[in-house]
Amino acid sequence: MTRWGMVIDLGRCIGCQACTVACKVENQSPVDAWYAPVVEYEVGRYPDAQMAYLPMLCNHCTDAPCIKACPSGALHRRDDGIVIADEEICIGARACMTACPYGALHLHEGRSGELLGDGTRNTPSILERYAHERHIEGTVSKCTYCAHRIDFGTEHGLTPGIDPEATPACVVTCPTECRVFGDLDDPDSPVSRYVVEHGPTGVLRPDARTGATTAYVGLP
């Protein structure tokens, strides 16, 4: 079996937002939807203070609260563990958004020409144009671990997590390689090896018992 998963090493993240933007461009996500944001927060007191960075994305949970909450059956988990939101089925009930402890589901509110959110632009940007073509207004979309790249790769004999064309965009662009991707069931995959070499890992909101396949090294 193949079970895709990601490990993010917080000791390496420099908060540069390359992943945030690479994801937005790759997935042409709707205006307000940032599937892979890097959350910034301050820790400590002067002079022992610093900015901390937490890269987020869908945790592709084994026991996904969003799937259970969805009234329309728009959310499902593939055999390889990737959780998909089907915008054709979604009715925009938003129950998933409430259920997800990671804020990983995003409603396409249909706003247009407002990517800036500050009134300095009047016409859609290139990204907005394609976001409108690719996504359905009033429905929910989310990170897919770049399933389209994974599927392209496996069809062409490439290995997700190793070959860039088959690997999630956020992983490929990261200058510090703080994101590692691969098959959790393959002990030789980059992600399995990383856990052995750099673990232990933890998950966000362990209390929610989601069975997240996105794990972190160096959680506080």
């Binding site: 090493d9 000791g11 390496r12 420099i14 908060g15 540069c16 937002q17 390359a18 945030t20 933007v21 690479a22 937005k24 461009v25 790759e26 042409q28 205006v31 940032w34 944001p37 910034e40 301050e42 400590g44 007191r45 002067y46 002079p47 203070a49 610093q50 900015m51 901390a52 960075y53 990517l115 800036l116 959110g117 500050d118 300095t120 632009r121 009047n122 016409t123 940007s125 290139i126 990204l127 907005e128 394609y130 860039p164 490929v172 662009t173 990261c174 200058p175 510090t176 390689e177 703080c178 750099h198």
Partner: protein, 866 residues
């Protein structure tokens, strides 16, 4: 019209992907741009085969295609119809043809050149072409006084390039990301995708940080991205870094004996004997400095005792008391005790002592490392600096202090140390090999490169009466003089300013927003009767132009020589450039030819103004074209033909434009001596700056003859810390305002990118004024309050308070270069540069740096409104 790329994919990566180069920041990463079925670029990735960035791109590069659909894009030549020029005054733009525009420009160029070529001012920060030959050949061909990069020339490398040339024959230098163990960031964010060597450095340091193999200390008034990820943040009072550097040097040479003595003897002027007047004691030839040869106990010319010169002690030569320069340095820095340093910098004395010890011990003095079978010095400690240390009054002294710290531990161009880029002491380009020459004094001596005005501090240039308001002739050791245009504009009588330019051609340099404050810039630009702005979008500077020509986005350009990374350390040489990934949807200056570069405009101007033969001759010279490729100065060549010849000359006859368009990536490995050249080159670096005295005397003589006031006190042979203008900041202007970079912006250059802009809105970074909790409380300010920040000159900006522990208690901070008033700019953002002071008090008269610490008053907006 067939486009240059035509049906070709332009790369081996599959349909729609074209190998090209980013140009958003100075690092010019190799990219692959994706053109979709609509013919639109919708995606950019790092080029995995390009060794410079190794397949990675940053947030800016990932989204760079958005500029292709800029709302404020200019699509045709424009002429002003309203003769009144100024901020907020509608120019009344009228579309005109290229012919009309170029004829009018050419006529002004002809008239200006007939009066005086010095009065034709050219400004550009298009680093695509500046370091190549295209722009320089236009400037040289016309006989202009050189080009100015403007904002970069005021804030950027004022104490960087001149001093790196001096000690490393380098334009830039960066810590060795592969071997460095200890890096001091002095107001720099190296490693955080905002400095040089962006993706490579972030990658190497990120990898090694995970295994605790590298220790970074960020000395900075603000804890930005780099300081947050550093192993230690040391908050410091702004503008006092030189005191800390000198305090660390005192510890190293007087308390800890942590310095690289063999290196100092053989590869620096540390053993050169100096007399009680501070000058070298020279051989009978009057040139070669003497050293005290410990081998035979006598004074000998430096080159006759290359490794045995004494570093310490005092001696008598021809009846005169003398001592090695190093001994003079040791005595000079004794006053920088940790306690004194604490008083100036607020860095605790114990921390000063600890940092010095850590830095000195990390340098592993005496240790070696074997690379490619060759044993090399291993000195894994370095410093990184730029605007944070440079944009100050006393900038030259700051720079000398930091260069000293680095040089004393012998960590120049050896594994782990500070590595030169792109040129070094010794290396090769695709067409030639070079080695830094030594002056008769035995010191690294290079001088000018390129067609600009950047030069080494040593040997100092001869001082003479200035011919332009840039006053560059009065800056014998400085790299830039752009700020003096503004000082002269503000006070033309005081400095007996030479006449202002009659004409300016401005390209890729939004000086109105990014140089001095808008009111100062407006007064200056109003002095120039005719301004041509070549720009992709309506910018703040465009508003002041008489004729506007449309420029191209980097994904529309053909510039094979965007940058040639001769590479630092063990990075291979890589040459590549930009391609017209998509054809511009605008007509260019030459009918029937695809518009692919600004050079096509320059060629048309040169042709119509009558100096095309001079331009072509300059091109032949700058590019070192072999006879078979040389241009006939009386001939006519398209831009593409010139590129073709240059490519074949550089990379071989089978590497012309077809190769470039279908592949275009050229790499070469370096030998170990090219990777780490310091031990293999005789020319010496400096730890004692004897030349400064003569340079200062020269400036004093000429300015006295001219009868103008000029500051020369900083022409010292050894550096000191001196307080800058904001250091004393009596109420109510009792906070220091500083500026820091944001990882996802390249200063103001990316602010109109809607994706990055949305990210900034999300993080509220460009509108925030950072205040320490005690500073905020003292002013009754809470997090999120609207606040006014006002300089003592009465310039003000409004922002939102971010009350944070990430800033020194005496400091207020603004991120990025937001604000502005052009179409698409956001007036709600804070514009740091709009608060700067341009006057003699804030200018470094040696380097042309403008002090970027502003004494400000901060108050709640509602209270100011009352």
């Amino acid at each position: 019209m067939d486009t240059l790329l035509g049906e070709r994919s332009g790369s081996a990566f599959g349909d729609g992907w074209v190998r090209s180069s980013c140009i958003i920041c100075l690092n010019r990463c190799g990219i692959l741009a994706h053109v979709n079925d609509d013919g639109v670029v919708d995606k950019i990735l790092g080029d995995p085969e390009n060794p410079h960035n190794g397949g990675r791109t940053c947030a800016k590069g990932d989204s760079g295609f958005e500029g292709l659909r800029d709302e404020a894009r200019i699509t045709a030549p424009l002429r002003r119809t309203n003769p009144e020029r100024g901020i907020g005054i509608d120019p009344g733009w009228k579309e005109i043809s290229w012919d009309e525009a170029l004829d009018e420009i050419a006529q002004h160029v002809r008239e200006t050149l007939a009066v005086d070529p010095q009065r034709l001012m050219f400004t550009s920060f298009d680093t695509y072409t500046l370091r190549g030959a295209m722009t320089p050949s236009f400037v040289m061909g016309a006989g202009m006084p050189g080009y100015s990069t403007w904002s970069a020339a005021i804030f950027c490398g004022n104490n960087v390039h001149n001093l790196l040339y001096m000690n490393q024959n380098a334009f830039e230098s960066n810590p060795d990301p592969k071997y460095a163990k200890y890096i001091l960031l002095i107001g720099s964010q190296f490693g955080s995708v905002v400095h040089y060597d962006t993706m490579h450095a972030a990658h190497e340091i990120g990898q090694r940080r995970a295994s605790k193999d590298v220790h970074i200390v960020a000395i900075d008034p603000v804890c930005g991205a780099a300081a947050s990820r550093a192993e230690e943040w040391v908050p410091i009072r702004p503008g006092t870094d030189a005191a800390l550097m000198l305090g660390m040097i005192d510890q190293l040479v007087n308390e800890l004996d942590l310095y690289d003595a063999p290196f100092l003897r053989e590869f620096t002027n540390a053993p050169y004997l100096v007399g009680d007047d501070g000058h070298y004691v020279r051989d009978d030839d009057g040139v070669r400095p003497l050293v005290w040869d410990e081998a035979d106990g006598s004074a000998r010319p430096f080159d006759e005792a290359p490794k045995t010169g004494a570093l310490t002690g005092s001696y008598t030569v021809a009846g005169r008391p003398v001592r090695p320069a190093f001994e003079a340095l040791r005595e000079h820095v004794r006053k920088y005790t940790p306690e004194y340093v604490e008083e100036v910098t607020t860095v605790p004395a114990a921390t000063v002592r600890r940092l010095a010890r850590e830095f000195g011990e990390a340098a592993c003095i005496g240790q070696t490392i074997e690379i490619d079978g060759v044993e090399l010095p291993y000195r894994p400690a370095s410093v990184s600096w730029y605007r944070g240390l440079s944009a100050h009054k006393h900038s030259m002294l700051n720079g000398l202090a930091i260069v000293l710290l680095q040089t004393l531990i012998g960590a120049l161009d050896v594994p782990g140390g500070l590595l030169a880029d792109p040129y070094s002491l010794k290396g090769k380009t695709p067409t030639r090999e070079y080695e830094a020459p030594a002056s008769p004094e035995g010191l690294i001596s290079r001088g000018f490169i390129g067609g600009g005005r950047v030069g080494s501090a040593y040997p100092p240039r001869k001082v003479r009466a200035p011919e332009t308001p840039e006053m560059f002739e009065l800056l014998p050791v400085g790299p830039y003089g752009a700020i003096f245009y503004l000082l002269n504009s503000e006070e033309p009588e005081k400095y007996k300013s030479p006449p202002f330019p009659l004409m300016m051609i401005q390209h890729h340099a939004n000086m109105m927003k990014t140089s001095g404050p808008p009111d100062v810039m407006e007064r200056f630009l109003r002095r120039i009767p005719f301004i041509v702005s070549i720009t992709r979008r309506f910018e703040e500077t465009t508003e002041m132009a008489d004729i506007v020509l449309p420029d191209l986005h980097y994904l529309e350009r053909l510039v094979p020589f965007t940058y040639q990374h001769y590479g630092s350390g063990d990075a291979p040489i890589s040459c590549y450039g930009s391609k017209p990934v998509v054809a511009a949807e605008i007509e260019g200056p030459t009918p029937g030819e695809q518009y692919v570069d600004v050079m096509q405009i320059y060629l048309e101007i040169a042709k119509r103004a009558g100096f095309l033969p001079d331009l072509l001759s300059a091109f032949n010279t700058i590019t070192h074209l072999k006879p078979e490729y040389r241009l006939d100065p009386e001939g006519q060549y398209s831009y593409i033909e010139m590129v073709e010849r240059w490519l074949r000359n550089e990379f071989g006859d089978d590497h012309g434009i077809d190769w470039y368009l279908s592949d275009g990536l050229w790499t070469d490995e370096k030998t170990v001596t090219e990777k780490y050249p310091r031990p293999f080159v005789a020319a010496r670096a400096q730890v004692y700056f004897e030349f400064m005295k003569a340079a200062g005397d020269d400036v004093r003589r000429v300015t006295t003859e001219l009868g103008i006031h000029w500051e020369t006190d900083d022409y010292q042979m050894l550096p000191d810390w001196k307080p800058g203008p904001a250091y004393k900041h009596p109420p109510p202007h009792d906070l220091y305002l500083v500026n820091l970079k944001v990882s996802h912006h390249a200063q103001s250059h990316t602010h109109h990118n809607p994706i990055l802009r949305a990210l900034s809105v999300k993080h509220n970074d460009l509108r925030s004024l950072w205040l320490h909790p005690t500073a905020a409380a003292a002013r009754g300010i809470c997090d999120g309050d609207r606040v006014v920040v006002e300089s003592s000159a009465g310039r003000s900006q409004i922002g939102t308070a971010r009350v944070t522990h990430l800033v020194h208690p005496d400091v207020a901070a603004i991120q990025g270069g937001g604000g502005g008033w052009a179409r698409g700019s956001n007036r709600d953002e804070l514009n740091f540069n709009a608060l700067l002071n341009v006057d003699a008090e804030h200018i470094d008269f040696l380097t042309g740096a403008l002090d970027s610490i502003i004494a400000v008053r901060v108050a709640k907006a509602e209270e100011v409104a009352k």
